[in-house]
Amino acid sequence: MSTVSAAVGRGNRGRRSVLTAVTWIVGIGFFFPVLWMAITGFKQEADAYTDPPRLFFKPTLTQFATVFDRGVGPYLANSAFATVVSTLLVVLLATPAAYALSMRPVKKTQDVLFFFISTKMLPVAAVIVPLYVAAKTLSMLDNVWTLIVLYTAMNLPIAVWMMRSFFQEVPGAIVEAAQVDGASLPRTLWQVILPIIAPGLAATALICVIFSWNEFFFAVNLTAARAATVPVFLVGFITSEGQYWAQLSAAATLASLPVIVAGWIAQKQLVRGLSMGAVK
């Protein structure tokens, strides 16, 4: 009897370690393109074009230096500015709206929520023509503020839904207790509710940062030399990619790094943001 259960136990353990090995292989396999991008960024061009691909080589920072020489600086600055300002605007607009939609539901709350989500389903390509014409008429082409307005609109529905799900988790008893103690509404909001939803605010901001930083369609169609963002900088490599894989990889690494690091740090909140608060 005991030998049987021991055998079963061993069989289970064997099965478990096989599954663990498979999981690790899958994880590393999926991560490999990212790793390869980072590795190639530290190569000399000659090391980037080898058959078989070279895993060991003398690392260099030349490619990163060249990327900065090619003038990635202003692109990074534009991306950072558009991302930070649009995220702030989204938080400023979405937080009161989400509060109104959760704590004190207005009539037709459902309709408003579905209106917000439906704007997300509108294909952006369908409105690019009037946006271009409008920006041209208002002399707002190649202007970072155009991107800021569009990124704010792009992330607003996600933020409203997400923040609403955080507001709904605030225990009503706490709010009532504060009001019984004589705290005014602004004071209740600021001192009682805000600390509770602070992690939610951070998660919402993170999602907005990810989508704004990576956005390409508006950036490539509405900006040129002055207001172009990092993804537009990478377009420059399409034509010259033949000879510059190492440089291209360095640029791609640099462009992706902020969001990768932010995503790693906040991975617990990621799923909630991506599902717009539906999945915790």
């Binding site: 690790w24 271009y132 990619e241």
Partner: protein
């Protein structure tokens, strides 16, 4: 106006109290207004202009060419063979990417939903593709990964007798889908993993006590529980993947020919390479109507499954 509504309230309350609900109403609606107004102006207004432009013959490189042409732009859209190809490609890319990413996502989530050493690390590795800038990812897939001579994929496949395949040129749609699947699998995996972890341990234990095998438990408890997460993943994934532009722009430019042109890319070509505002606008309206039809079906499907619960 007050005169007509007043009789409706049986015992008319004093005037002050009639007013306060209205003020209350505005206090409730007030915080919502800035976001709502902003969203309407930035997202709905341009679409009205799209509708208007779609009735115009208007090319930006020919100033003064603008005139009203009824629905001719729409007639052109529907007789345009490139449009049909782009619509089919859009469907192939969206369905292919979402289905494959979902299947892989489920498998990966099941693999991760067990305690083992380094689980946090593997999870971190697996979500990273989603965080890579799509433009950067597409550029890298086109070059270092799928290149016929120096690409990683051909190197890995060489022992299996695969020669120097020019993936992007020979299989443009497949290459684009592969790149998108790589980026979207983590998204699906995260949703499904959250679903798996929200299962009640008690129910699973009870099933085991009742003598259900692991396979039975999986099919009759886990799968129905995951259904809502799968639907959510498919719907959200589809919303984003339908709009794919970055991967096509960077990897294939819609080519060779129009082999990998999807609707967003075709619209971009008409608007920004052809400067044909009217035609592009009509295309945009058709795309929106198509999206609304598909989204309505998808939403109805989801609401039906929600109302069907609880399972007998």
């Amino acid at each position: 106006m007050t005169a007509t509504t007043a009789p409706a309230h049986a015992a008319a309350p004093p005037r002050r109290e009639v007013r306060s609900p209205r003020r209350e109403g505005w206090a409730r609606r007030g915080p919502l207004m800035p976001a709502l107004v902003f969203a309407i102006i930035v997202t709905q207004l341009p679409f009205l202009f799209t509708l208007y432009y779609s009735t115009q013959s208007w090319n930006l490189v020919r100033p003064g060419s603008r005139r009203f042409v009824w629905l001719r732009n729409y007639a052109n859209v529907f007789t345009d063979s490139v449009f049909r190809q782009a619509a089919i490609n859009t469907i192939v890319i969206t369905v292919g990417c979402v289905l494959i990413a979902m299947l892989l996502g489920i498998v990966f989530a099941l693999l991760l939903d067990r305690p083992f050493r380094g689980r946090g690390v593997v999870r971190t590795l697996l979500i990273t593709p989603f965080l890579v800038m799509p433009v950067a990812a597409a550029l890298l897939w086109k070059t270092t990964i799928l290149d016929p001579v120096f690409g990683i994929v051909n190197f890995v496949l060489r022992p299996f007798g695969v020669g120097q395949v020019a993936w992007v040129a020979e299989h443009p749609l497949g290459s684009v889908i592969a790149q998108l699947v790589w980026q979207w699998t983590p998204f699906m995996m995260l949703l499904i993993l959250a679903g798996l972890q929200s299962q009640s341990g008690e129910v699973l234990e009870a099933a085991q006590v009742d003598g259900a095998t692991r396979w039975q438990t999986f099919w009759s408890i886990t799968v129905p529980h995951l259904r809502r997460y799968i639907e959510l993943g498919v719907l959200l994934g589809a919303i984003y993947v339908v709009n794919t532009f970055d991967a096509i722009y960077m990897m294939t430019q819609g080519g060779p020919g129009t082999a990998s042109t999807n609707l967003p890319f075709y619209l971009y070509q008409r608007a920004f390479l052809g400067f044909d505002v009217g035609q592009a606008a009509a295309l945009g309206v058709v795309v929106v109507v198509g999206t609304i039809i598909v989204a309505t079906f998808a939403l109805r499907l989801i609401f039906r499954t929600f109302t069907m619960e609880p399972n007998p």
